[in-house]
Structures are given as C-alpha cells and as structure tokens.
C-alpha cells in the first residue's frame, strides 16, 4: 500500500505543478503583451538577440533553398526558351530605341541642370543584404536581412531591390535587421502619381496589393498608371519606383508592386549618411526647396 500512496501523492504534486506552470506562463504572456505595448528597451533587446541568433541559422537554411528554387526556375524557363528568346529580341530592339532617347535626354537634362544651377540630389551609399526570412503572413509582413548595425544599417533606412522600393528598416540588431514591407498593415508611405504628380499615401493592409489613400483627384486614375515615392516627408528619396495601379473600383485604388515580395533574395539598403535624406540646410537649400 505504501508505494502506491507515495505514487499518488507524487502524481498529485505533478498535476499541481503543471497547473501552476500554466498559470505562471499565462501571466508571463500577458506581461509580455503589456511590456511590448509600452515599447521598452528590454523587449527590443530580447527580439534583437533572438533575430541576431537565428539569422545565421536562417542564412544557412536559405542557401540550399535558393539553389532548389533556381533549379526549378531553370526547368521552367527551359520549357519556354524559344518564345522567351523571340520576346527578348523584340524587347531588346525596343529598349535600344529607348536607350538612344534616354542618352539624348540625359545630355539635355544635364545642360538644363547646369543652366538652372540645380543642386544634385544626395547620392546614397548602399549596403547589400541577403533576405533570410520572409515572414509574410496574415498578421504582419516583414523580411529579415543579414545586415545589422555593425554594417552601418540604421532604423528608418530605405530598402530597395532591382525592381523598386521594398520598404524600410524598422528594427536593427547587431547582425540582422527587419524590413517592414509596403504591404504590412503598419506601412504608410507618401507617393506620387508619376504622370499627374498627384500626391497620395500608399497604405498596406497585409494583402498583396496595398491601397492608394488620400488621393485628391481620383477621376484621372486608371489601371497601369505608375506610382513613385514622393519624398514629401523626407523619409523616402523622391522618384523610387513603387508600382502600378492594378484596379480602381468604388474609390478603392489597389496598387500592384514592382517587387515580388515572396521572391526577393538580395536587397539594397540606401544609406544617405548621418544627415539622412534631408541634408543640412546649406547654401543649396533654397535651390532645392524651389525644385521640390
């Protein structure tokens, strides 16, 4: 009888401990919610430590994944190589004509700039980072990249890919950073319609196509219109390609981004130096204000 009684007492203690663990941990979860809401240094440090520790692991994992993806792409491309070739040849001819035009315009633009004594936009240094995690989901959309404070990354810096704007850095750890994507529900960036120069705000909502809000002249907008950053607030440099209008219905304008968020491998982080995009108001400030 004795061992049995001991066993049941042991069992009861185990159950009690188990319940206690549940209560303590649920309290801890609520505590974390409050701490996170207060945006304390502790929480930031914790998440930086975790992402910094996991970034190398994710990097190792992403390399074979990238090669598998590349092989799959190769197979897919081989199947359509003939049509692709014909299409590219045609596109090449068209682009060559554009190139000639662009050269002429570049020369003309340079002459006009010289005439107007225009202060050139600051040229950024860029840091290239590998995308190691794409946490696109229902509740938040962001990337983790292998560039951190030790590489010169800072919170708020603009992130671009070859095709266009990706987003901006919201958290910077020592070795890794988080890029808030344009589709994230917290992303709101000032943009401008390339043709009409009408200003608007591109608002993410965790869907693949962010919405164009606060646009005054909605009447003239039609699918296919290009959208670029406006640089109004100084957070983004003006003229970065963002996307095209995908659909217009009942006042809701949806934008198809130039980048494919799920397929980014490398991104560039634009570094405008310690002054940011808005440099010190120096002798050229008046001239710049006049051109904005």
């Amino acid at each position: 009888m004795q061992p049995n009684g001991q066993l049941s007492r042991f069992g009861a203690m185990k159950v009690a401990l188990h319940r206690l663990a549940f209560v303590v941990l649920v309290a801890a979860a609520f505590g974390l919610m409050l701490l996170g809401k207060a945006d304390t240094v502790l929480v930031t440090r914790l998440s930086h430590a975790v992402t910094d520790a996991l970034a190398p692991v994710l990097e190792v994992m992403s390399k074979p994944a990238a090669s598998v993806g590349a092989v799959m792409n190769n197979i897919r491309e081989l199947a359509a190589i003939r049509e692709e070739n014909a299409r590219l040849r045609e596109e090449n001819q068209r682009l060559l004509r554009w190139q000639t035009l662009a050269r002429q315009l570049q020369v003309e633009n340079q002459r006009l700039r010289d005439l107007a004594n225009l202060v050139p936009d600051p040229r950024p240094r860029s840091i290239t980072g590998r995308v190691v995690a794409d946490t696109g989901g229902v509740f938040a959309r962001s990337l983790l990249v292998t560039v951190g404070a030790r590489d010169g990354a800072r919170k708020g810096q603009v992130v671009v890919a070859a095709e266009g704007l990706v987003g901006r850095l919201t958290e910077v750890g020592a070795r890794s950073s988080r890029v808030l994507l344009l589709t994230d529900i917290n992303s709101k960036i000032p943009v401008v319609m390339e043709e009409s120069r009408a200003r608007a705000i591109l608002v993410g909502d965790n869907s693949n196509r962010p919405e164009l809000a606060f646009l005054k002249a909605k009447a003239g907008v039609s699918p296919g219109d290009r959208i670029v950053t406006s640089g109004v607030t100084g957070a983004f440099p003006p003229g970065l390609p963002v996307g095209v209008v995908a659909s217009v219905d009942e006042g809701h304008i949806r934008v198809e981004l130039f980048i494919e968020e799920g397929r980014l491998e490398l991104v560039r982080i634009l570094d405008y130096g310690p002054d940011g995009i808005i440099a010190d108001p120096g002798p050229g400030a008046a001239a710049r204000a006049g051109t904005d």
């Binding site: 979860a29 996170g36 914790l46 994710l58 994944a65 989901g137």
Partner: protein, 171 residues
Amino acid sequence: MRPTLWQTLDQTARRLIPFGLSLLLLLLAIVPMTTPGFLRAGPMITLLCVYYWAVHRPDMMGYLGGFSLGLLEDILMNTPLGVSSLILMLTQMVVLTQYRFFVGRPFLITWWALALVALGAILLKALAIALLSGYVVAPGPLIASYVLTLLLYPILAWVFARTQILLTKEP
C-alpha cells in the same frame, strides 16, 4: 531504481526533440524561396506542432515548450509579443483537459477536432492583435490561413508520427 546519468541525458534529449523539430518547421516556413506562393497565406505551423504533441504525447511538450515556441514565433513574425504564447498554451490546455476524448482516437477524429481548436485559436489571435495593435485583419486572409493550416496537418502529423516512433524506441 535511480536512472543513470546516461539515461537522464537520453531522456532530456528525447524531450527536447519535439520542440526542436517544431522550431525547425517554424524556421523552414519563413525561409524565402522554399515556400511556394500559397504558403504566404501564413499557416499556423506552431499550432499544429503544439496540437499534435498535446494529443499524442503531452509529456513531450509542456506549457513551457508552447510558451517558448510562441515567443519565438512572435519575435520572428513581428506580431505583438505574448499573443502566440497565449494561444499555444490555451490550445494545449484545451486538449489536455479533454484528454479522455482524444486518447486512442483515429486520425480523422483528431483532424476534425483540430478544425474546431484552430478556428478558436485563429479568431482569438485576430482578436488579441486587434486589441493590442488596433487593426482588424480582413476575413479573406484569415480564412486562407485557417484552411491551409488544416490542409497541412496530415503532412506534419505524418512527420511527427515518424519522430514519435523513433523517440519511443528503446536505446
């Protein structure tokens, strides 16, 4: 009989495997390029992990495991801290209190029960995030995530079942 040091180490290692495997799956789900486009709908991988072990071997992943997995998920996914931990532990609690229902049931029954548990979990998560961050997630993506979570369960359950067989093997 007191277990030897080797046996204790062996037991500890075995207990860590379900958590390690869940973490690996969580990381795999966010590595770019591996996932075809549809995975961007965001299936609740950690919920599936926690659910499986709570149903089949509750001793292998306790509340601390659920809490830690949720915390890592929130940090990686950039969702408010604590939300996933809470949801995962509530899932464990629901399954454990209904243990008599789950024990020895065929797969289809546990899958059906998952449909209910996951529905509660995703709605609660959306509600918690709405309260904490002040934004409401559109129903479309929520449904997509829910359906994908349910569809992934048989695959993950198979992987976990293999692992479970390995874990229960005598050394």
